[in-house]
């Protein structure tokens, strides 16, 4: 099953990043994706196993100078019950409420959810709606270097991202939403917990006097990666929300979504869900 030659549990970020620069490292955080993937033989351990859970710098949630920062080790439970998030970005709490079980939420980290890069990764959808970016740290020429990339450009294919093997995702950051911001999330399934999403939709923007602005729309599980729905955003941007605009957004949503037929749902059904969720969420925005 494994040929791990070395186990490392660094306590400092710089140390963790240095370890990565040596190559051949498997990173583990909560292990809720990694352990099943190893057990099923879908993945093999590299020579070095690095547990990042001891790195304090990667924990916590903060609001500083108008920017919210979620350390990669924040668990879904911590995000759900965090005061800053509940006040400024409750769409993340709504998503956490649809995420797995208590036991999984207690272990599942935000960094793991993003880096696993499943098209059905739930926390990614509200983060796309919030316009989040990720921070990637690596060791270069004797010091740590951090780059920021929009989450929107992070995903390449199922399980594939622009993160280099020598980079650690340290945090996800986004501007504190304006007071007019309304964010809505919907996941398929009668009881969404413990269900791999068939379709997820997130919609957010500033809603004032019937007008919807700075609109972001994201879809999960309807393409090879979680995606921003450009046509839907365009159909909504700056518009006064009414039935016609909402119907136009639904048509645009069908353009944006590229669902597949698989064991969990047909293309037809996924398109159907995308349409009704888009409509439902926009109606919720109007009622806000």
């Amino acid at each position: 099953m494994s040929e791990i030659e070395k186990y490392i549990a660094p306590t400092k970020l710089a140390e963790a990043v240095k370890v990565l620069s040596g190559g051949g490292v498997t990173i583990v955080a909560g292990g809720t994706d990694l352990t099943p993937q190893i057990n099923e033989g879908k993945r093999r351990y590299e020579a070095t196993l690095m547990n990042i859970q001891r790195v304090q710098e990667l924990k916590g949630i903060s609001l500083e100078e108008g920017e919210i920062r979620i350390g990669c080790l924040a668990t879904v439970s911590e995000i759900w019950h965090n005061d800053i998030i509940a006040e400024c970005a409750p769409i993340l709490c709504d998503t956490a409420n649809c995420f797995a079980s208590d036991q999984i939420r207690n272990a599942a980290t935000i960094g793991g959810n993003i880096c696993n890069a499943s098209p059905a990764g739930d926390m990614i959808i509200p983060l796309l709606v919030l316009g989040a970016s990720v921070e990637l740290a690596r060791w270069k020429e004797g010091k740590m270097e951090i780059r920021r990339e929009p989450l929107n450009h992070f995903f390449k294919a199922p399980g594939k991202t622009i993160r280099l093997d020598n980079e650690l995702l340290t945090a996800v950051v986004f501007d504190k939403p304006s007071v007019d911001f309304v964010g809505q999330f919907r996941k398929s399934g009668p009881r969404p917990a413990l269900e791999i999403s068939t379709v997820t939709v997130g919609i957010g923007g500033d809603y004032n006097d019937g007008k919807f602005e700075n609109v972001r729309v994201a879809f999960g599980a309807v393409g090879p990666t979680p995606l921003r729905a450009a046509a839907t955003e365009q159909a909504l941007e700056g518009k006064t929300l009414n039935d016609d605009v909402i119907q136009a957004a639904v048509v645009a949503a069908w353009q944006d979504a590229r669902p597949i037929d698989d064991i969990r749902a047909t293309t037809w059904y996924r398109n159907h869900l995308i349409g009704i969720f888009t409509e439902e969420l926009l109606n919720n925005v109007c009622q806000n």
């Binding site: 099953m1 494994s2 040929e3 791990i4 030659e5 070395k6 186990y7 549990a9 583990v28 909560g30 292990g31 809720t32 352990t35 099943p36 190893i38 057990n39 351990y45 196993l49 547990n51 859970q53 001891r54 439970s77 797995a100 079980s101 208590d102 036991q103 999984i104 207690n106 272990a107 009881r191 917990a193 413990l194």
Partner: protein, 157 residues
């Protein structure tokens, strides 16, 4: 074979010092190395909750967690819930309400239920249902499980 590493943690109030293979799960450590068979292995993939334990006061599925990650932490399994042979009030409530049939899910179910009540002594029935979503039981149909937990809420535990 993969390398081993030294591991120190507190298990049901007592310090444990043991060498573990670094790829081992907490569940394998408990059942195979420490011979604590209360915590159950069923799905092995986080779906059923039979392997639920408490680590530093929060519940996790021990089948997914790596043993090495227990370093310096405090663990409670079903064996640590009661005092000696005396049942814990949550265990007694399950017995009194006929909430146990084959029993296989029960160590995980009871650890989870107890944790929910510890965190929120005013737990509603709806909150119990939500909190126990990750614990599958093939026998009871859950009604008596919820009755048992409900009977404990309000009691000091």
């Amino acid at each position: 074979m993969s390398v081993k590493t030294e591991l120190e943690f507190i298990l049901n109030g007592r310090p444990v010092n043991i060498e573990v293979p670094v790829h081992m799960t907490v569940l394998a450590l408990l059942r195979e190395s420490l011979d604590l068979k209360g915590t159950k292995y069923a799905c092995g993939e986080g779906e059923c909750g039979a392997c639920t334990i408490e680590v530093d006061g929060t519940t996790i599925n021990s089948c997914l967690m790596m043993a090495v990650d227990l370093q310096g932490r405090e663990v409670m399994t079903i064996e640590g819930l009661g005092k000696g042979n005396a049942l814990h009030p949550m265990q007694q409530a399950f017995v009194d309400h006929g909430a146990v049939q084959c029993g296989f899910c029960m160590p995980g179910m009871i650890i989870q239920a107890n944790n929910l009540v510890k965190k929120n002594p005013d737990l509603s029935r709806e909150e119990m249902k939500r909190g126990l979503e990750g614990n599958v039981c093939r026998c009871t149909g859950y009604t008596k499980v919820l009755d048992a937990v409900a009977s404990v809420v309000g009691l000091k535990i």
